[in-house]
Symmetry: C3
Subunit: 384 residues, 3 copies
């Protein structure tokens, strides 16, 4: 099998980087069953439509990053034609491909969002394939929609929701909200009162047979406050995502009121992704003791630009407040690419800053360990 260093990257010729333990504090399962080209490509984009004529989704920074880093992990030269890569993938079989790619990452803990799980491996399967430990992040809107399906009344819905969130809290590592998709982050920061909550629950149950998603801002707020009350960390989608999103409604700065209001509960808030508002997320992580900034998704999608984007996060964010993740979804390739891009981007930045004298040499590995795993272990309470 070719080594990933078998390329012309001068950095590679210096030999492999020190292996670093990583906690992937926000990721998803990988797709079950054989992946044809169309399905493979659909996981390389946040779009829901074909690529521009004459191009494929490989023609993007993420696509180039996959072509650069993954073929060597399957014994092919970097940047080999996509067709060769997909053929090799089929030859090895999904299980072996997943195993090889996951085990290349240094990830010891997979903290898996199970909110969108159809056709994906479970946290336990994922961790087994990768040789790591599994933890679960429970998506609040998914819990609420499940409870609503069976509730006979709004009272039953609200009680059942309370119970379900607290039951989940007994085993989960944390919760996640996708309020950014469902309504936008410009929510009233206060917990809803009983009256508006009951009315919102009534509205939800009245339309539940229409297959509509939970998008009522009152209920979305209620979910945030219910999760906060458990004391577990709460991940919040901010910044870019699929076309369902209105980007400017996902600016994490819109959460400022909620961040202040929820502060006394002691709940940690983890602002996921955030790009292109990652500097605002870093600011919030700077001024609020319970706020953390994630770099997942962003580094994978920006590929050759990962170091540049990570550097922007590291302007205002205190180093004890930034967390690695891959946000990998569907493809084990996204674990490999997310980990490599993060590790190399951070390595490149700290090497530059130490070289310039701006950072002390001894601080670089200490900070890398905080961002790669230490901060997440502390916040999610994971054993080393």
């Amino acid at each position: 099998m070719a080594d990933p260093a078998d390329v012309t990257d001068p950095a590679d010729r210096e030999g492999p980087a020190e292996p670093v333990d990583l906690v992937d504090h926000h990721c998803h399962g990988v797709a079950r069953g054989p992946l044809d080209e169309a399905r493979f490509l659909s996981y390389l984009t946040e779009s829901d439509a074909p690529a521009a004529a004459g191009t494929t989704f490989f023609d993007s920074q993420l696509g180039f990053a996959v072509r650069r880093w993954c073929p060597p992990l399957l014994g092919l030269p970097a940047h080999c034609p996509p067709g060769d890569y997909l053929a090799r993938r089929a030859e090895l079989g999904d299980e072996e491909v997943t195993r090889r790619l996951l085990r290349s990452t240094g990830i010891t803990d997979y903290v898996v969002d199970t909110g969108l799980a159809d056709g994906l491996t479970t946290p336990a399967e994922l961790a087994a394939a990768g040789g790591g430990r599994a933890h679960e992040i429970v998506r609040l809107e998914t819990v609420a929609e499940r409870v609503a399906e069976k509730a006979g009344s709004s009272r039953e819905f609200l009680d059942g929701l309370q119970e379900a969130v607290h039951a989940a809290a007994r085993t989960a590592a944390g919760f996640k909200s996708v309020a950014a998709y469902r309504h936008g982050l410009g929510l009233d920061p206060a917990p809803p009162g009983p009256g508006e909550l009951g009315a919102a629950a009534d509205r939800l149950l009245a339309v539940r047979d229409e297959g509509r998603r939970l998008d009522d801002p009152v209920l979305l707020r209620h979910l945030l406050w219910t999760a906060a009350a458990t004391g577990l960390p709460l991940q919040i989608h901010t910044g870019f995502g699929d076309p369902d999103l209105r980007l400017h409604h996902s600016d994490p700065a819109l959460l400022t009121g909620f961040i202040k209001a929820v502060r006394p509960t002691g709940c940690s808030l983890v602002l996921l992704h955030a790009y292109p508002y990652h500097r605002s997320a870093a600011y919030l992580a700077h001024v609020f003791p319970h706020v953390y900034a994630d770099v997942g998704l962003t580094l994978s999608y920006t590929g050759a630009r990962a170091a540049a984007v990570l550097a922007e996060v590291l302007e205002l964010a205190p180093f004890g407040k930034v967390m690695f993740s891959t946000d990998a979804y569907g493809l084990p390739e996204l674990y490999a690419v997310g980990s490599l891009l993060f590790t190399r981007a951070l390595g490149q930045l700290t090497k530059t800053w130490v070289g310039e004298g701006a950072w002390a040499a001894a601080d670089a590995p200490r900070i890398a360990a905080l961002i790669g795993s230490g901060n997440a272990r502390r916040v999610y309470g994971l054993a080393p």
Copy 2:
């Protein structure tokens, strides 16, 4: 005549870059008649006022870029005093200056916005001077204002507008909206109904003798939808521009609702400029198949920073969705500078990424050809 490479830039010493065919998908005519210093300088800024005391508009990244790239094209050393340059310009005459500067660019197709044309060359004149082909972009608000001048009733205005847009569509390469200037991009995304449209037309005709511009959000929306119905590409001003603009109302993310609503029509939307929201424009180009991101104006104005800004666009934007333009206006210098900055910025970025191993060497010229001309040829239907 001195070669532009006669400078101390180490990159130049490696010899001239390969000439690349460019389609300038968004530009304007050059000023007719002799340009005195004041008028020349007025084209180097988006401001409507004099420069700070003790400085001129040459004291900006754009001004320095003009001083660096244009004198050698007229036989003077790079960075010669502005007075020498303007004297040389006068000596050669506008026609010869325009010819030399345009022919330095590699532009084969000029796609010219004729909405602000007073005192500027026509597309045909421009293309003749540059040795390229001319295409026209029709500015919607200008069409509507012309129709309104002669309409006897709101019915006549609306019918005349419909006819004028469809007549223009028979020869134009596309349309352009400056709704960002006139109202802001936070428009209701839906096409206006007949009632509100009639009322808006009545209001327009009632005040048309007051010399007010068309700034009614109902009519601006109507123009967008009327253009979309022709099937031609629709350019939309987003991001920075002259002081008439409220910058935060030109964030392309504000268009998300319209982008989704118009998607079924098959109309391509080209988000012009976008800076400092160019990462948001790139995101929209990523998730929506009919959205494209332009880099014109932005690279010229940011000069020495052009590669840094272009790199940000190329984080999320798929490579089949980004388009070169100069947005040159008034000065042929802006064609020269816009083309050189783009070509060199993209060359520098791809050289770096190939050097790091992040991109395959063979992909660099392919992607450069897409961004420089291929994407625009495909979207505007231009012959190679």
Copy 3:
């Protein structure tokens, strides 16, 4: 005493940079009396809470910058342990530390915001310690709150305010507004009429015993217009700051209406900080002749990234419109770090741009002098 050049930074080995005169057009006093570790650390963050577990506020770009630049100024090696530094600080005494750190900066003029002055040195004391000249910036909200304390009626309040602002204008170098903190910058741009002003004054006096801050948008607007009428420059807080802020309400683009409305008065507006909206501030400085962009606070807090951030400001901002400051507050270290980071960042950028041929060598020191001091001297009317 060790020289700051005694580190491994290759740039340092080229010898010290040319000393450059600086005008610090926005700064604060330093803390009186001995600083224990907790108080020292509280000045290294905009947060109001402890650092993340296992870290201190030294674990940030600002903290690393202090550790890199300040120990050598007190005779210790760069990046020495924080405990050693604080011990050395105690040994030398505050007065000597302040003297050494301030005199390392090249600052000749301290333009001091006296709005938050409890426990801080006066402008005169600061300038004496630093060997420079003192100037005062008067914070409008502080003036208004003082007048309100003693006013017997709203008429008396409004008359007293008018008088106090005009009295201050006789000696002050300018005014400052923190409307971004008190309400946000999305204010009605017009000066308030007498009716709404009287009502707002009534409301203020009715609650003044409750210790509430002045946060009425009518009064905040009135303060801006009252200051503008004096003809002195008006500093406006924009962008990041302490957790009291809602970041997205401090986007300087929100000021566009006020900027246009106030333009005929001839008042200069200086947009402070602006990060992460510094490109928007630079745009406003580009298109409006009376608008200036500051780089203080931002460069200190982003440390190793100061050159990258400064480069973004210098994309659209004309070079006659950008101003150095430290926004130092409490710690003399913030003067040293702010000055060094600015000087080196600008030096690094101009060296790169001259090296690439993008800038003429002769322009670099001229532009550096404008940004470092010339622009501020012109705007605030300071003698050279």
